[in-house]
């Protein structure tokens, strides 16, 4: 058991949408003086770790972090640790779901730096988000995810590379985290200009995975042209591998996420293993409604049904020049029906296919959400890429 000291700076910044729109955000920055990023820097700890998260407020109003699913959270604002609790004003009205760090220069002289502490007592996927003015601050981008590994986690031992511990049926080969949300640019603009924040008129125009909208969702981690949106949502696996996909619903709305290629097996909700005594309550779905403030851990795999060059498909693939390939100017297709084979793609179409891998879309089935301000393709969409065995290296690790 270790002590994990994590610092988060609440700050502002800008993120970029694929259509060129810049969105002003509030969010968590990974270092002093840095711009906010979306979502917050990932926090991955081990079960039993003592987690200390110091929040430094650089915003023009008080802010805080709630940790749904964690027990015995304490806060220390310099006077010693005490249990966190909701904060009320002098009239008894709730002003924050938890203890907050006040804004710099506040007239009350309240601390602007506070430290939350808890012991990560059970494994799982959790959301963390602002508990102060959440209708504004969460939407502005003050959200992220916390992953707690089981105490027996050992990535070198397959039976112990699990989400919830050995013998819980949650073994995985690779893992991905998808934090989904929406953006109403009018509300962000109002905050930037100091205008009234009218949540009643909430009307999202962008729908995001890990703070990006498609096609940016498919670009790699830490892409240089997305400096404040460091996380890819591209899911990559080799045939027959098990992939752990962790959904975190960080928006106001619920999103029905549909992976092509196969069902997922839902193994945990909100960090709770779907297990009741001896009974495994996990279930398979082809569409999982990722609801606001909730998390879903799932296992996805793709094994195919046995087609390869020696077991050919029972239909003929027409000359792709006679069909439509890459209407958008690009394609993820290999040109072949077979995994690991690349064939010709019509001239003028850019193929992003690397090794003859298969691509399956994963997207919100509320289809207006796979647009960028109404234009398809975009939004809450990514690809699941199935690679031939032995070709993928170490993609799909969370740190």
């Amino acid at each position: 058991m270790a002590t994990r000291n994590i610092n988060l700076w609440a700050a502002d910044g800008y993120i970029s949408m694929p259509d060129g729109f810049s969105v002003y955000i509030w969010g968590f920055a990974p270092s002093a003086g840095a711009r906010a990023q979306l979502p917050a820097p990932r926090i991955v700890v081990n079960q039993g770790d003592d987690v200390k998260i110091t929040l430094v407020n650089g915003l023009p109003e008080a802010t805080s972090i709630v940790f749904p699913g964690q027990d015995n959270v304490t806060v220390d604002d310099g006077t010693g640790p005490r249990p966190v609790g909701p904060r009320f004003d002098g009239s008894g009205n709730l002003i924050s779901l938890t203890d907050f760090a006040d804004y710099p220069g506040n007239p009350d002289g309240n601390p602007t730096v506070i430290t939350y502490s808890f012991t990560a007592f059970r494994p799982g996927t959790y959301i963390l988000e602002s508990g102060t003015n959440p209708h504004k601050q969460v939407h502005m981008g003050l959200y992220g995810a916390l992953v707690v590994r089981p105490a027996d986690y050992d990535p070198g031992v397959p039976s112990r590379k699990t989400a919830y511990g050995e013998n819980t049926g949650t073994e995985f080969d690779r893992e991905y985290l998808l934090v989904v949300s929406e953006i109403d640019p009018e509300l962000h603009r109002a905050v930037r200009l100091g205008q009234p924040y009218r949540i009643r008129g909430y009307k999202p125009r962008y729908w995001t995975m890990n703070g990006r909208a498609a096609p940016d969702t498919m670009f790699p981690d830490s892409a240089g042209y997305l400096p404040n949106q460091p996380y890819s949502s591209m899911i990559m696996l080799e045939k027959d591998e098990k992939v752990l996909i962790r959904y975190v619903g960080a928006g106001i709305e619920n999103h029905p996420l549909h992976p092509h290629g196969n069902h997922t097996r839902v193994v945990a909700l909100d960090g709770h293993l779907l297990q009741n005594g001896p009974y495994n309550l996990s279930y398979k779905r082809f569409t999982v409604l990722a609801e606001a403030g909730q998390t879903y851990d799932q296992i996805y795999t793709w094994s195919g049904i046995g087609y390869d060059q020696t077991h050919p498909i029972p239909t003929t693939v027409p000359n792709p020049r006679n069909l439509a390939v890459g209407d958008a100017g690009w394609t993820m297709w290999s040109g072949s029906p077979y995994l690991g084979e690349k064939k010709d793609i019509p001239v003028g179409v850019t193929s992003f296919n690397e090794l003859g891998e298969y691509h399956f879309m994963l997207h919100s089935h509320e289809e207006p959400q796979i647009t960028n301000w109404g234009e398809f393709p975009g939004g809450m969409m990514t690809m699941i890429a199935v690679y031939p065995e032995g070709t993928l290296g170490n993609a799909g690790t969370l740190e």
Partner: protein
């Protein structure tokens, strides 16, 4: 095991809402077995919902999609695809995602092949610019029978196979979609539509809004909306409802006075790791876009039982009640003849 050969055309057409308004739409039309020279005559005759695609576990389905073009929008040369929503271990070639394989341009054919291995309720739809093509009507019902299905032996007339407790006497789709009249109008007059403005005016079951949902005539009255949504049964019969949501909203459907046993979601039976039957009862079926739910009920005493969306603001037609996602279960005292096919 049999070979199922089907051919669907993709084209456009019009649908009618109860107060008489016509709406431009895209959709599918069944052209199976038609001579080539007659296929051209199916342009502009798309239907909502698309034709039922039905197969049995182990069947080999060869589904040819022919893009017939859009006589109502001759400028529009969109390609089309068919995506079987929920087919496990699919390969991209037959998955119908244009960005991940290919699509079918105007005047071309393509053969999709499916060998379904899992029974249940699914859906199909075009995946080309799906926000537009799904809303415009390129959607259809899809069901897979268990391998041992036999409609003449009650123990084998089941949703999920003999011994699964899913025997039924009659079956109906409750297929949910919405219609944003402004979107359809803008597309009809060659204008862009901002899909983030999506706001339905009509809410439909099986391609119709109330009271057309309970109108069992078709043909002349509803040339392009072949499926009513009236559930009919004899008292005491077991009725299978196949709920599909291919709209863009979440819906809450209930039949007042008839509790439902949920026997599957997303074509997966709720069974425990040791085979325990975990089916459960609900009064309201809450279903998100892209999900399917199978539910059974035993028909109660004769009478009419209203079916409606508990999101009551969806029980209207362009602002006026009653309308929208409303229908009824009409229970008879043993006088109904056997059901010839799903939804009939």
């Amino acid at each position: 095991m049999a070979a199922v050969e089907k051919r669907f055309g993709a084209t456009d057409g019009h649908i009618r809402m109860p107060e008489g308004s016509l709406h431009y739409m895209f959709g599918f039309v069944d052209i199976t077995g038609l001579p080539e020279e007659e296929i051209f005559g199916c342009r502009g005759k798309a239907q909502l919902l698309g034709p039922l695609l039905e197969a049995k576990v182990g069947d080999e389905v060869y589904l040819t999609l022919t893009n017939l073009g859009m006589p109502g929008r001759p400028d529009l040369d969109d390609s089309h695809t068919i995506h079987w929503h929920g087919f496990p271990n699919q390969i991209p070639l037959w998955d119908g995602v244009p960005e991940a394989s290919l699509a079918i341009p105007v005047g071309r054919d393509f053969v999709y092949y499916y060998k379904p291995l899992h029974p249940g309720t699914y859906m199909y739809h075009c995946h080309f610019e799906p926000v537009e093509h799904i809303q415009m009507g390129m959607v259809g019902p899809l069901l897979v029978r268990p391998a041992d299905f036999d409609p003449d032996i009650p123990a084998f007339k089941t949703a999920y196979g003999n011994g699964t407790g899913t025997e039924f006497d009659r079956e109906y789709f409750v297929f949910l979609t919405e219609l944003d009249a402004k979107a359809h109008h803008q597309i009809a007059i060659v204008q862009e539509y901002d899909w983030s403005e999506f706001q339905p005016d009509y809410w439909m079951i099986n391609g119709r809004a109330y009271p057309d949902t309970i109108n069992e005539t078709n043909g002349s009255v509803f040339p392009n909306q072949p499926y009513h949504a009236r559930i009919r049964a004899n008292s005491g019969e077991r009725i299978l409802l196949r709920f599909v949501n291919l709209g863009y909203q979440q819906h809450a459907i209930q039949i007042l006075g008839i509790p439902l046993s949920v026997i599957a979601q997303d074509a997966q039976r709720p069974i425990g790791i040791h085979g325990e039957n975990l089916s459960y009862r609900k009064n309201v079926i809450y279903i998100a876009a892209g999900q399917t739910i199978d539910a059974l009920f035993t028909a109660p005493a004769p009478g009419k039982y209203p079916l409606f969306n508990r999101n009551c603001h969806k029980n209207i037609n362009a602002g006026t009640a009653p309308g929208g996602m409303v229908s009824e279960a009409d229970i008879f005292a043993g006088t109904l003849p056997p059901q010839p096919g799903p939804g009939q």
